[in-house]
């Protein structure tokens, strides 16, 4: 997993400016984000195979700082939709 410093002013994949983003970006996307000053590659990164897209949702951070998941529906009910269902 490659690492980048998020430079700002916007969060990148849920990582705020000043923090470290750990994610494999496609070469094209890395070039775009670096070109507009959004991220800075850290040492030790390796090129990612072209065409690779990481569709993982950004890491959820606890806005309340109470360690609790604000989502009260744990998805275990009978009517809960199938995970990852496509429309």
């Amino acid at each position: 997993m490659n690492s980048y410093k998020v430079l700002g002013p916007k969060a990148i994949y849920g990582v705020e400016p000043g923090d470290t983003l750990e994610r494999d970006l496609s070469p094209e996307q890395e070039e775009r984000l670096v070109a507009r000053g959004a991220i800075e590659p850290l040492e030790g990164n390796v090129p990612v195979e072209a065409g690779t897209v990481d569709r993982t949702p950004p890491t959820f951070t606890d806005p309340d700082g109470d360690g609790e998941d604000n989502n009260t529906n744990d998805g275990t009910g009978e009517d809960s939709p199938e995970e990852g269902a496509s429309l």
């Binding site: 430079l7 700002g8 002013p9 916007k10 969060a11 990148i12 994949y13 849920g14 970006l25 094209e28 996307q29 775009r32 984000l33 070109a35 507009r36 000053g37 959004a38 897209v53 569709r55 949702p57 950004p58 959820f60 806005p63 998941d69 604000n70 989502n71 009260t72 529906n73 744990d74 998805g75 809960s80 939709p81 995970e83 990852g84 269902a85 496509s86 429309l87």
Partner: protein, 140 residues
């Protein structure tokens, strides 16, 4: 989760959180209506054909470094594909009651400046589907 008011929609374009610059978001996924009516019918019979996907977001324009224009203009100029992600509530984890809608998109039109005297600078960006995945719903 019952009825709710849209106040905290998450809008991420090419990995960049543009939520606070967006004022509306519409997820559209029409499918072609394919006629399959045969003789002897009183009603048309329709089949679902090819689907499409468009996510339209109304943005406030911002030419500051790293903001709206810096994100969207290169995507339009290059024609590259990128991911757009929409979620009903930004501050809540992805889940069955807060699904995340993801689409690999291209931008075919970008209006960097629009508006009349005394109005906020806003524009609509229509992100069009650019893969065979369409709009994917993630609930975990």
């Amino acid at each position: 989760m019952g009825k709710f008011v849209l106040k905290d929609v998450f809008v991420e374009v090419d990995g960049t959180d543009l939520s606070n610059m967006a004022s509306s978001a519409t997820i559209g996924q029409p499918a072609d209506e394919v006629e399959a009516t045969g003789y002897g019918s009183d009603y048309r019979e329709l089949l679902q054909g090819l689907k499409d996907g468009t996510i339209t977001v109304a943005f406030f324009q911002d030419f500051a470094n790293g903001s709206v224009h810096d994100v969207l203009n290169p995507l339009y100029e290059s024609g590259d594909t990128f991911d757009i992600v929409i979620r009903p509530v930004k501050s809540t984890a992805v889940g069955p009651t807060n699904p995340e809608f993801q689409m690999t998109a291209r931008l075919f039109d970008y209006s960097p400046l629009a508006g009349g005297v005394g109005e906020a600078a806003t524009f609509d960006a229509a992100f069009r589907n650019a893969s065979q995945d369409g709009i994917t719903v993630v609930t975990a």
